[in-house]
Each structure stands twice: as structure tokens, then as C-alpha cells.
Subunit: 317 residues, 2 copies
């Protein structure tokens, strides 16, 4: 699916079963989890290595979906017990969502262990899990085959729960990653700054040379050595299910980096748009369903639509 | 100040005295009002004709500020009584503002009357006032010197108060304007649609061929015959006072249209950026103070920074 020249992209994070209700309907026990959205979104651009854990109840159909996208599941443990489950309901206008239930199940004992062959992964994404586990995966990835095999680019996500409850571990992790992706509320919470450019400045002082602040339908902002870059969200009239949009953004973003094998400011800007493109498809159906009928020509088309969305003439004033 | 080739831009709206408190400080009885922000912002790009009303207490210094920006005040009535006053306080993080006091004063009897020479104004902006008064100004502008002098482009703003309380009059007005500018909450209220592209579609069906939805620090969206255009807000780290940002946006937007004498989709997109540029300057100080030390070279520089803010390479996927 992805071009053979792309470098492998390693992701660790949750794989779960979601029960979701939105104005568009309700779905029970559908494929969910940050690493699921990330992997399949990224798979359109680069070969993905997925590290996670599921129970014996994890449906074969979901495994097949990963297979159809050539997501390597050598790092996906299957253990006795039930798969991680999340259930939530969105407000009619999608402005808020309420979590009805979270069952960690087998996820509560997750101790990620990379397959030995994966320790050479040049691109690494640590999705939103306990920063202690994120750090453990990073250390395994760094122990590959010597200095030359150190990851070239490591990005991580996080959430309010870890910012509040495991701040010291998170700060330790942040010193060692190239980029942090988080949403606006998390950026404010982590930095103590209400203003987003100020928050990004404070977060970059903690370690990551790049910070991406995701703002849902207000788009995403990138702060890095190449300045500030604003990617709008693609205006979608028929939003079906926003679950996983941020993770799909991460997948499109990191997928482009891995495909290009380059982390120059120009490539990172383009990665922001690919992230927005994949996120925009993700919300058009429940679970990962939109990705099942997505192909590269549609991605290409929406990338062009994005270019048009922000295009204006560089006139003389 | 503006190039002599630009066409005159007529605005009607409030001119007032604001008392504002933000995390950056407090100012009492400073120049405020939608038409004030609009006029001075637009004045950098086109000659402005201001229609409004003030009381005998209106300070000479404010009149001089308009004069310094060549804003024509032939339509600014001065009547016995006190000038419109508004007072408000912003939350530390600028996420909300609370109105402490509103005194309509002379504004409550405002019956706008265009100077006869102004009925030929080719570009008209009806700032947020009672839609009955907006319609009255539009009718006066349309009565100019026959068909050839009909306004070429009419835009209006509105607010929740009129959407709720004078809906029928507002709908009558909307049938006769080319463009409506409003914020996201107003767009949802007017259309009954939570989703912004859906709201814009519904509003365009009411009359205006173009709709601009202002979203504060999330930027602005334009929906018109040239498709959708997204203008990010320029990231400003030191926001001092957001009052009037939306009106300054309107001024920059209409100022560019009047300067170019053209309402093609390409010009309207560029106008969105000029609107964002003027709004971004507006919030950098209290009242209209930032405009006092603004010049065209700074506008040019920020326009270029905007181009960089959204620039990405149009690569092959």
C-alpha cells in the first residue's frame, strides 16, 4: 500500500473496542484506540509496526483490517482476558463528548516489548499511554544496533490524566522526544499558559523542538524551528464520528515523515496537511470505516482541496 | 493615507466610549464602537465615510484620530446628550468577556441619514446595529443617482440580540446584501445548524452570496461562489485587548475590496487575509491605540508573515 522507499514507522498505543453514539447513529464494540486510528491512517503513506495489546475476544475482522493495510502486528500481544473498551456519547453539535464507561481490561497490565527486529525503527510515535510505558518503548527503540540505529524522529501524544497524575515521568519523556502533539486544553494544562503561542514556547523549553497543538475543527498549529505553521481543519459538513480524528492526524503526519525520510521544516509543514487530510476522512464515518474505502487518489484529491482552501494571491499592498 | 485610486467605503455603526479591563490592565472611556474600529482599520486601504452618532461629551482627541486617518465624518452626527458607553471585563485567558454596563444614550434615538453626496458610495458596510437602521441606510445608498450608482458590494454584520429579537427585519435585510459577516455562535443561532459549513449553506440560501464566519483566535471561514477559504488568525502571544478585533477584520476586509474596486473570488480571498492582518494588530493594544502607530509597511510585513504561516509545498503524493 505504501511506497517501498518509505521507512518503517513504529507506534505504541491503545487498541480497543469502542461503543459510540453520535447524532448520526450508534455503533457497539467497533474497532477503536489511538494506535488503531494512527496505524491505519499512516499505512497509506508508510509501512507501520504496531505495538499494543488485545484480549482473546479481539475480533478476527479487526485483525484482518490491519492486515489489509499491511500494518505489521508482530508487536501486538494477544493475552487471555478482555480487550480495552471505551464507550461514549457526543452532544448533538459535537461540541462535547461524555465518557460513559472505560474498561482497561488487559491494557492495565500492558508492558510493551518490541520485537527485536523493530528496535531499528527510524520513526517512532508514542501514542497517548502512561509516560512510563512511552519511555520504556523509547528506550527499547534506542537500544537497537548502536548509535547509527537511533530513531531519527520521535513524537509523542499525551492527555490531561498523565499531565496531572504523572507529570514527573512525562517531563522526563519530553526531554527525549523531538515533537509533542497535544490538544489545546492539554497544552494549556501542561504549560500553565492560556495563550497558545506562549504555551508552545513553554513546552518547547521542556525538550521537544516541535510542538503541534490540535484544535479539532479549528485546525492545528505547529511551532518549530521553521516558525509557526497553521493548518486549518478541512470543513466537513457531514461529520459522523469525531473519535480518533486526532490520532488519524498523527498517523497522516508521521506517515508522511516516514515516507519522505526527512524532517526538514518544509516536510514537517506538508506532514501537517497530510495529518489534517487523514483526520478529515476519519470523521466521515464511524470507527475506522472511512479508511476501508479510502485510497491514495482520494488523499491526493483532498490534499489539492486543502491547497485551494488556504490559497490566496501574494499581492502587492 | 489610502491610495487615491481606491473607491469610497461607507460604514454605519456604533461609535462609543469603552471602559475595558483585561489581564493587561484597565482603560476608561477610550474610543470604541464597531464603526470606529472598522473605519480606522479600513482607512489604511481606502477612503472611509463614517455614519454614526455621538454626544456632546465625545472627546476632541477621538475626532482628531479619525481625522488623522482621513476618515470623513460628514455623516457623524453630534447631538446633545451622552455618547454610547460600554463597559466590560475579559477573563484572564480571554476565553470569555462579561459586559458590566451598556448605556445607549444618544444611540437609542439614532436615525442614520446619509449626507446627499454619500449616496453614490460603491462599497457599503452595515456594522452591527438594528437591522431596521441597516436597511434604512442601504435604501438611502441605493437611491443615489440612478441605477449606475447602486452600491457595487454591500456587507453587513449582526449579533445574537437582533437574530433573536428582530429576525424578520434581519431576514429582509439579508435578501439585499452581498455578504454577511458574523461569528460562529451567531451563525449557528441564525441557521439552526451546529456545523459551520451547513450553517453557511443555510445562510447563503437566505440571500447573501458570501458568508464570513469569524471564529476569534481560530480564524475566519469564507463561503462563497469561489468555494471555501480558511484564514487562520495570526498567532499573537501578547494579546492586550480583543475588543473590536472582529470589526477591525471587517475594516481590513472591506478596505481591500474598496481599494481594488473588485469583488472577484480572488480579491475576496485576499480581503480575508487583510481582515485578519488588521484584526491581529487591533488586539495588540487597548482601544484603537495600535492603529495610531501602524503604517502600510507593517501591514505589508504581516501580510507576508501570513503567507508564510499557511505556506506548504504542493508535493506529489
Amino acid at each position: 500500500m505504501s511506497p517501498s522507499s518509505a521507512s518503517p514507522l513504529l507506534v505504541v498505543g491503545s487498541v480497543g473496542l469502542d461503543t459510540v453514539e453520535t447524532r448520526a447513529g450508534k455503533r457497539a464494540d467497533v474497532l477503536g484506540g489511538a494506535a488503531s486510528y494512527f496505524s491505519v491512517a499512516a499505512s497509506f503513506l508508510a509501512p507501520v509496526r504496531l505495538t499494543g495489546i488485545v484480549g482473546t475476544d479481539f475480533p478476527e475482522a479487526h485483525t484482518q483490517l490491519f492486515g489489509a493495510h499491511a500494518v505489521d502486528l508482530a508487536g501486538l500481544e494477544r493475552v487471555p482476558g478482555k480487550t480495552f473498551r471505551w464507550s461514549g456519547v457526543y452532544a448533538q453539535d459535537f461540541s462535547t463528548r461524555t465518557t460513559l464507561d472505560t474498561q482497561l481490561n488487559v491494557f492495565s497490565d500492558f508492558r510493551p516489548k518490541l520485537p527485536p527486529a523493530w528496535t531499528d525503527s527510524p520513526y517512532v510515535f508514542l501514542a497517548n499511554i502512561d509516560p512510563v510505558l512511552q519511555l520504556s518503548v523509547l528506550e527499547q527503540a534506542e537500544k537497537g544496533g548502536g548509535v547509527g540505529s537511533l530513531p531519527r524522529f520521535v513524537a509523542c501524544d499525551t492527555m490531561n490524566f498523565w499531565i496531572e497524575g504523572k507529570r514527573a515521568d512525562l517531563l522526563k519523556l519530553l526531554k527525549r522526544v523531538d515533537m509533542l502533539l497535544l490538544n489545546d486544553e492539554e497544552a494549556r494544562q501542561l504549560s500553565g499558559e492560556a495563550n497558545l503561542p506562549a504555551a508552545a514556547r513553554a513546552i518547547r523549553a521542556l525538550g521537544p523542538r516541535a510542538v503541534v497543538i490540535k484544535r479539532g475543527d479549528a485546525g492545528a498549529l505547529l511551532f518549530h524551528e521553521g516558525g509557526v505553521f497553521a493548518a486549518p481543519a478541512f470543513p466537513i459538513e457531514n461529520v459522523v464520528d469525531p473519535t480518533g480524528a486526532g490520532d488519524s492526524f498523527g498517523g497522516g503526519f508521521m506517515g508522511w515523515i516516514a515516507r519522505e525520510g526527512d524532517t526538514s521544516p518544509a516536510t514537517i509543514r506538508t506532514a501537517m496537511i497530510l495529518g489534517s487530510v487523514l483526520a478529515s476522512f476519519s470523521v466521515e464515518d464511524f470507527s475506522l470505516d472511512r479508511f476501508k474505502r479510502l485510497d491514495l487518489s482520494q488523499i491526493r484529491e483532498r490534499f489539492a482541496a486543502f491547497a485551494d482552501l488556504v490559497h490566496f494571491e501574494k499581492i502587492k499592498i
